[in-house]
């Protein structure tokens, strides 16, 4: 049996950061020396190529690999600056009509022969696209934001992953706004981990640099950016590799008088 870590990056709700996380984690793991492939399993609305800046270099896709009209090597797009990272692009959206869980398993089995990490960028929802992608995964990272709809949908996905025997399932809390959290106008980190009862793999702050980096097609983890999200993704990659990196503390992001004032306000009086 291969020792490859095949990890599904999923969320339930759309637009919470699956593709951003897949791209940044992929680059970060590759930079840490792990041979990594990111698989775009969002056949309907593929975007992983764009976030990685590889959209103009796609010749073949997972579709041709499955049809055996090309070899896997021909379809894999190697990242120029980070050669430890490759992308296997999603095929035509019409693939959705015939793709089955065993097809995803077949693709992943090929990838597991030559990579240390296979990251699967999952489509939103809990329908066939999710089920196909989940069938091929061994473990999962669930992305959510501290918002009621995202947390509820994450819960549905976690339930499904449990019944499918995907293990371990870890949580990434994305788009955290420290200021709103300290004002108690956003679910806290503890609230979310208590409700979902999952180990927290990391938290990522709301960060404008995420948008800047997607404009350029250069994930934040590609450079030694000191932006909070870049650091968060780097930390998450290290934790995946088994390193013990302390979590960021949202309340530490806002020290000073106002934070102390807020602390006073949280004192129990009776």
């Amino acid at each position: 049996m291969s020792t490859t870590r095949t990890i599904l990056i999923c969320s339930g709700k759309g637009g919470v950061g699956k593709t951003t996380t897949t791209a940044n984690l992929g680059i970060a793991l590759a930079r840490q020396g792990a041979k990594t492939v990111v698989l775009d399993a969002d056949f309907g609305l593929r975007n992983l190529d764009l976030l990685l800046g590889l959209e103009n270099r796609i010749v073949y896709t997972a579709q041709e690999v499955l049809a055996e009209t090309c070899r896997l090597e021909q379809a894999l797009v190697k990242h120029k600056q980070e050669p430890n990272l490759a992308l296997l692009p999603a095929g035509n959206p019409r693939m959705l009509e015939w793709l089955k869980p065993k097809d995803m398993q077949a693709i992943v089995a090929l990838l597991e022969r030559q990579f240390d990490y296979v990251l699967i960028d999952c489509p939103a929802g809990i329908e066939d696209g999710f089920k196909n992608a989940a069938a091929a995964a061994r473990e999962a990272v669930v992305i959510t934001t501290p918002e009621v709809a995202a947390v509820r949908d994450a819960d549905r996905v976690i339930g499904l992953l449990n019944t499918k025997g995907v293990q371990p399932v870890q949580l990434v809390l994305n788009r955290v706004r420290p200021k709103m959290m300290s004002n108690q106008e956003m679910l806290s980190v503890d609230d979310v981990t208590d409700i979902l009862a999952l180990p927290l793999l990391g938290l990522v702050f709301e960060d404008e640099q995420v948008i800047v980096s997607t404009n350029r097609g250069e994930p934040l983890t590609l450079s030694d950016s000191s932006s909070p999200a870049a650091q968060a993704y780097g930390n998450i990659a290290q934790r995946l590799q088994g390193e013990d990196i302390p979590l960021m503390d949202p309340s530490q992001a806002r020290r000073g008088l106002r934070a102390r004032m807020r602390k006073l306000m949280q004192t129990r009086i009776f």
């Binding site: 918002e147 009621v148 976690i158 959290m181 108690q184 679910l187 009862a197 306000m265 004192t267 009086i269």
Partner: protein, 95 residues
Amino acid sequence: MTLKDFIDKLLRRQPASAETAKERLQLVLAHDRSDLNPELLEQMRREILEVVARYVEIDLAEGDVSLETEDRVTALVANLPIRRSIAQPSKGGTL
């Protein structure tokens, strides 16, 4: 109660929304996880009360059967204040 809650109360301000979000989520997830819709839950509640009422006199208006959830485990919680037990259940009687 925290100092902030106290001041909010004095000023009749709404509680911070995170607390509301948490409470609403816990409730909706208890239902999602059990796959019981409110209608079924209400039916079950009535039937449980009926059964219990055969043994003890309960306050039907106060009786509460709900779903609570912690650590991904959802529990059916019944809180049924007993007025008094029904004297001498008839021995050998039918139930």
